[in-house]
Symmetry: C2
Subunit: 216 residues, 2 copies
DNA sequence: GCTGGCTTATGCTTACAGTCATAAAGCGGG
DNA sequence: CCCGCTTTATGACTGTAAGCATAAGCCAGC
């Protein structure tokens, strides 16, 4: 028995307050950088020279393996930093970043960024919180992919997104991810996600309304 | 054609220099805590009151799902911190910690630890490096579990361990993990790891010498 | 030195995720 | 408004990882 309650609200995604204040970054010498849809911001394995913070648009932080499966590490929304690992360990980027739509990014050269961290303890802790959040997400994902069934994996991911109010409309529960993106987060195939979500809908655990997923 | 070169060296695991100096922690008020094999150090979901650093022994940081599959998040060796996420975001522990052998841990109360971070920038950055390292490990694991075949997953993990000199003897390449632990890191079954490692051995990509795995 | 639990091992069976092919619906850009 | 790309959808087939049973080897602790 599929749920069929029509959702009438406007989709609303939770706003992220910027990790670092835009004024602060600008005063330190950060510059705006604009990227077209599909444009590469940095590549996996490249040397890192900047701190990046998304101002508007969407960015996917991912790996693409030998040929050509995509593994999504994070989908970045405005206000978030990304590609920050090399700033701490001086290793190359662990994953690449690509603009999913026209996007605006604030870039602060690495040395200036490290100065900022040293001077601004609150900023430093804000970044620590972001890294802790990323790690928690990874902990959850690894549990999710270890589930016996794809149902298990997908439900675990959806529960987390709902709980954390990420990529989900706070009002209506609209999941702001394509089935392909869900697949790429969990290491599944699109067809599997399509079939499982349909089954979840039939079981009444999920709502599909003209192809869009709602999780309440 | 299996490799059959006998390894004669003594197994040597890379020493970790302690994340925070033991003297520093003690001077801040840290205390030693001893745990017997199998003893729980903290549980997933519990509230966090301490910074933990392993002095001797081994600790596994893991989740155990509804019934009773284990997902290993990290295997902690002396010198490493663990359970540090809640120190930054005040959420409960994302995973539990259990002593795998008789272990000695230095514990510093959370408030004192945060004071230490504020005062000691180098210590703060050392912890950031550790978190970056953990995130890189997770990035790799998620790529590994997304591989099409268990061979792919296992080889990716082993390559990483070799490259990072973790849980592997620097001289002889002895993998210091049981097949069960490899399975629990990758979300596979023991039997699968056993069969795949045997196949890798037969293909000459791995050495098994009286049941122990050597990766060179 | 014995004993029990963990680790490694192997065979058999089965469910099902992946794969491929095909197609319709939706959307964005010119 | 139309065209093309992305996304969703569905059917048929297949390989294989999981699951279960069983057993031997190994080590730790009493």
């Amino acid at each position: 028995m599929p749920i069929t309650i029509a959702s009438t609200q406007q989709p609303v995604l939770k706003e992220q307050s910027p990790l670092a204040s835009i004024d602060l970054l600008l005063s330190m010498g950060a510059t705006y950088q604009s990227y077209k849809k599909g444009e590469i911001i940095f590549k996996e394995g490249a040397y890192c020279r900047y701190y990046h913070q998304l101002v508007s648009g969407t960015v996917v932080w991912h790996n693409v393996d030998d040929l050509g499966k995509e593994i999504i590490q994070a989908i970045i929304v405005p206000g978030e930093s990304f590609g920050e690992l090399p700033l701490f360990d001086d290793k190359p980027y662990a994953a690449g970043a690509v603009a999913m739509q026209q996007s605006l990014v604030l870039r602060l050269p690495k040395e200036l960024f490290l100065e900022l961290l040293k001077e601004d303890y609150d900023m430093h802790m804000a970044l620590n919180r972001k890294m802790a959040e990323r790690l928690r997400f990874k902990f959850m994902l690894l549990q999710a992919v270890s589930q016996a069934t794809p149902e298990g994996s997908i439900c675990m991911l959806l529960n987390y997104l709902k709980q954390e109010q990420k990529h989900i409309c706070t009002g209506c529960g609209l999941i702001n991810l394509t089935r392909q993106q869900i697949a790429d987060l969990l290491g599944l195939r699109v067809e599997t996600v399509i079939r499982v979500t349909r089954r979840l809908h039939e079981e009444g655990r999920l709502l599909i309304e003209n192809r869009k997923l709602f999780y309440v």
